[in-house]
């Protein structure tokens, strides 16, 4: 037997309007809050915009689910003592195709947008400054190969508005380099050199946080990050007296690069 037309008996337009109203309300509240905190790099606003777009799309999906659920609960709740069954509707092919295709389009859009953002935030530019990051249980230290192999423990200084390429090394277990205001994170892996690109664009003092569990001192493995004007930075870096110590030089020279230009070359050489 065939059940009567299903969609025709539902207030589809009203349900959609309530869904859109819900989307607008949730988005208005959610977008008024800066979830990720202060923005301190050129990557940060791009990632935050992506997040905001996703918040709006998610608000739509969430509102749609809630409207469908509560409309059904309000309209089709059994009266006390009613032991009869519902209508024998087994499905609706058009509807099923719709809720397969529409989410597919949404996620493919999200994927393409993410890909674009990823390429932008990892753009090295023409003249990046290289800084080496060394991590060990439970301390950070930094080397400035472009500045006469200068070295300092526990404090990272970078010039503002300059693209930095961090080359990361670990001496023992995996650590992870995260400055929340920069929105950039990368694991420091023993035996390989990992890379992260950042262009800090706001002068200030931040914290570098280890985000990969590395032992009992993990929670306190932090370092100070100072973003300052190029002049101040030059003065600071020339004032450094230590050079990168021998074991760290070894890890710079011996660690494998993670991203050879042609991936298949990695195995051979």
């Amino acid at each position: 037997m065939r059940a009567g037309p299903m969609l025709g008996r539902l207030p589809i337009v009203k349900m959609l309007l309530v869904t859109l109203a819900g989307t607008a309300a949730i988005s208005a509240v959610m977008l008024s809050i800066n979830w990720d905190g202060q923005e301190g790099s050129t990557a940060a606003p791009k990632i935050d915009d992506l997040l905001n777009v996703m918040i709006v799309l998610s608000a739509f999906v969430f509102s749609l689910v809630m409207v469908m659920l509560f409309y059904a609960l309000w309209k089709f709740k059994a009266k006390p003592g009613d032991e009869s069954d519902g209508e024998p509707i087994h499905g609706n092919t058009r509807l099923e195709i719709a809720w397969t295709l529409i989410p597919t389009i949404i996620v493919l859009f999200g994927g393409a947008y993410s890909w674009k953002v990823l390429n932008e935030i990892e753009d090295k530019g023409s003249n990046p400054m290289t800084i080496d990051v060394f991590s060990q249980q439970y301390a950070w230290s930094f080397g400035y190969p472009g500045k006469g192999m200068k070295f300092i423990e526990g404090e990272l200084h970078v010039p503002v508005d300059r693209t930095i390429q961090f080359k990361m090394h670990s001496q023992d277990v995996i650590h992870s380099f995260w400055v929340p205001e920069w929105r950039i994170k990368k694991d420091n892996v023993p035996g390989i050199t990992t890379t992260a690109i950042v262009t800090p664009n706001k002068i200030g003092t931040y914290q570098l946080i280890c985000t990969e569990l590395c032992g009992f001192g993990h929670a306190s493995m932090r370092a100070k990050v100072v973003v300052e004007s190029p002049q101040k930075f030059e003065k600071w870096v020339t004032g450094l007296t230590k050079e990168i110590p021998e074991p760290f030089i070894e890890s710079i020279e011996q660690d494998t690069e993670t991203n050879p230009a042609e991936p298949l070359d990695a195995g051979g050489a």
Binding site: L10, G86, S114, V189, T194, H218, A266
Partner: protein, 634 residues
């Protein structure tokens, strides 16, 4: 006394454990002596004198308990003891502590054991939240804290969520497909008994010098390869839990494929059966990877192999690839059986056929196929080849599509139904749709590489996994336990206490895990015993809700225990469901059916005049088979 030791049972099991352990120690001593190594010296992380007995002791226990008796007799050509089926059924509580081959007894053994670990692990979560209620160190030091959250996760994943689904399915699934038992009852019993051993190994690691394993449930090398002895307890516990899981999955596959009642075609199987079929396909293929990688870590630790030793040319990142090649499919192992439960509960209590039954089944297959191609989304910042990230991002995002199909189909099932919300099972099922949607949304965000770079390894992840595992899996587990409680115990539970439990759990879950998203995005890393003072107030709030969430589980425990003993007697089919397990008495007779039922239609034909799912023994003659055209979706 001698007779007691010869019979399979606890005396022989204790003896077997001791003999097994002694054999292990002896083996190490002899091998070291032959190799010319100092006999008693223990390497820094090795302790072979402990590790080897941790393998042989539990095997001795299983042998003593009688897990291998029949097979060993057969293997050596001795006369096997004929099956008199006296082991079937449980006459009193002691029967649950024996090697028993009855799928219904094993189901209850599974569920009670796993819930024991659920509460133990929940207590650890309470300790964790107590420590995190304020910045600074108050209750446990940083090393103990690391052990606590590692053990919490491992117990919840390996000896609660994964096996409790196996327990529910063990009880329900053979009844649902009209089978008298599982395909391999002895293997089934062995699978169960490996489970408490895994749990004891995990918990026992607290006694090891250096404390319990503390490298997280992920156990990343090289932190794990260089960790103290406790890590070996983890490596080995995973072997027992994994072997149990693989054997059960094999059992389910053979049972579902070969033992369905006549007339039960694939398109007439209830969705719980489809869900367990898909889950089992994942388990048999993926679980060997985690077993293998934990052996590699163990070998690095005690045999000084160099799989993950970077100084000797090992590859650190490869641990993560192998680990996540299991552990991403594992998140579907932890949710697909729950999807099956939700389908049963919603269709029954909305009195409506499942909306788009075939697409629901195909979505499960779509999920298992895609789930093998997404593992590296756990490694976007791990330092793997960066060109791997974009394809993995797209597969990850696409897996939201079959999951979305399921959500919308459950909602579609509600429309034009007669929704009954008196059952706590239905409340959990409806709440699951909402909480799981939120977990899915944060999952899609995490799948996007740029967002993941920022929130990876922060409290955002903690929020996401608890929304999908607690708000998702555990809600479905509660729905399943409440739904089949009358069938399993023959008693009704108290719906009033059930509602207290439901609302407390719902409020507790949202209050605990929603704010975690915010502190994570704002800069709080995960797996830390101490944190910046700016997150203090949020964490206090999270802890308060976590304590509510913990306390309200005691209501559940009380309800289950007291109702099992004193609850009013349950009828055979209190929810007026169609599937076969409800057509027999509660609890079902020892061999399930006097005569195998005959399946004549789909399992969810609510409201179809004259439609039947199965014809039970003794009522066959007068019921005519309905025409196939009313079966399934158009």
């Amino acid at each position: 006394m001698l007779a007691a030791i010869k019979r399979p049972g606890w005396y022989r099991a204790v003896l077997g454990t001791l003999v097994g352990a002694a054999f292990g120690v002896g083996l190490v001593v002899v091998l070291r002596a032959i190799s010319g190594l100092p006999i008693w010296q223990t390497e820094q992380t090795g302790y072979p004198h402990v590790v080897v007995p941790l393998i042989t002791g539990p095997l001795g226990f299983l042998a003593g308990l009688g897990c291998f008796d029949y097979w060993l007799r057969w293997a050596v050509g001795a006369p096997t003891i004929p099956e008199d089926h006296s082991q079937h059924g449980a006459r009193n509580w002691k029967d649950y502590f024996r090697f028993n081959t009855d799928h219904k007894v094993i189901g209850i053994q599974y569920i009670c054991t796993t819930f024991f670990f659920f509460f133990l692990s929940g207590l650890m979560a309470m300790l964790i939240r107590a420590e995190l209620a304020q910045p600074g160190t108050q209750i446990v030091d940083a090393a103990t804290y690391n052990s606590l959250f590692s053990t919490h996760a491992v117990l919840m994943i390996f000896v609660f969520i994964i096996p409790v689904f196996a327990g529910i399915a063990n009880y329900v699934l053979p009844l649902m497909i009209g089978a008298p038992d599982m395909a391999f009852p002895r293997l089934n019993a062995l699978s169960f008994w490996m489970l408490p051993l895994a749990g004891l190994l995990f918990v026992g690691s607290f006694l090891a010098p250096g404390g319990a394993f503390d490298a997280g449930w992920t156990g990343y090398a090289p932190l794990s390869t260089g960790a103290p002895l406790g890590q070996s307890f983890f490596n080995l516990g995973v072997q027992f839990a994994g072997a149990s899981s693989i054997a059960t999955a094999l059992n389910f596959l053979v049972t579902i494929i070969t033992m369905r009642a006549p007339g039960m075609t694939f398109w007439r199987m209830p969705l719980l059966v489809w869900a367990n079929l898909s889950t089992s396909l994942l388990v048999v293929a993926a679980t060997p990877f985690i077993a293998g990688v934990q052996f590699m870590v163990l070998f690095d630790r005690i045999l000084h192999t160099n799989f993950f030793d970077f100084a000797a040319g090992g590859d650190v990142v490869s641990y993560q690839h192998i680990f996540w090649f299991y552990s991403h499919p594992a998140v579907y192992i932890m949710i697909l059986p729950g999807f099956g439960i939700i389908s049963e509960v919603i269709s029954t209590h909305a009195r409506k056929p499942i909306f788009g039954y075939r697409l629901m089944a195909l979505a499960l297959i779509g999920i298992i196929v895609l789930s093998y191609s997404v593992w590296a989304h756990h490694m976007f910042v791990a330092g793997m080849f960066s060109w791997l990230r974009v394809p993995m991002m797209f597969t990850t995002l696409l897996i939201a599509v079959p999951t979305g199909i399921k959500i919308f189909s459950w909602l579609g099932t509600l429309f034009f139904g007669k929704i009954h919300t008196y059952s706590t099972a239905m409340l959990f099922a409806l709440a699951f749709i909402v909480t799981f949607t939120i977990g899915g949304i944060s999952g899609v965000m995490l799948g996007m590489v740029p967002i993941d770079i920022h929130v990876s390894d922060t409290y955002f992840i903690v929020a996401h996994i608890h929304f999908v595992l607690f708000g998702g899996s555990v809600f479905t587990i509660f729905a399943g336990i409440y739904h089949w409680f009358p069938k399993m115990t023959g008693r009704m539970y108290d719906e009033r206490l059930g509602r207290v439990h439901f609302w407390g759990t719902l409020v507790g879950t949202w209050g605990t895990f929603i704010p975690m998203h915010w502190v994570g995005m704002d800069g709080m890393p995960r797996r830390v015993a101490d944190y910046a003072a700016q997150f203090g107030e949020w964490n206090l709030l999270i802890s308060v809700f976590a304590f509510i969430l913990g306390a309200v589980q005691l209501v559940f425990l009380y309800n289950m225990i007291v109702s099992w003993r004193y609850g009013p007697r349950a009828e055979g089919n209190p929810w007026r469901a169609n599937s076969i397990e409800w057509q027999v008495s509660s609890p079902p007779p020892i061999f399930n059916f006097d005569e195998i039922p005959r399946v004549v239609g789909g399992p969810y034909e609510f409201g179809v005049p004259g439609a039947r799912h199965a014809i039970m023994a003794g009522e066959g003659a007068e019921v005519k088979e309905p025409q196939p055209s009313v079966v399934g979706s158009p």
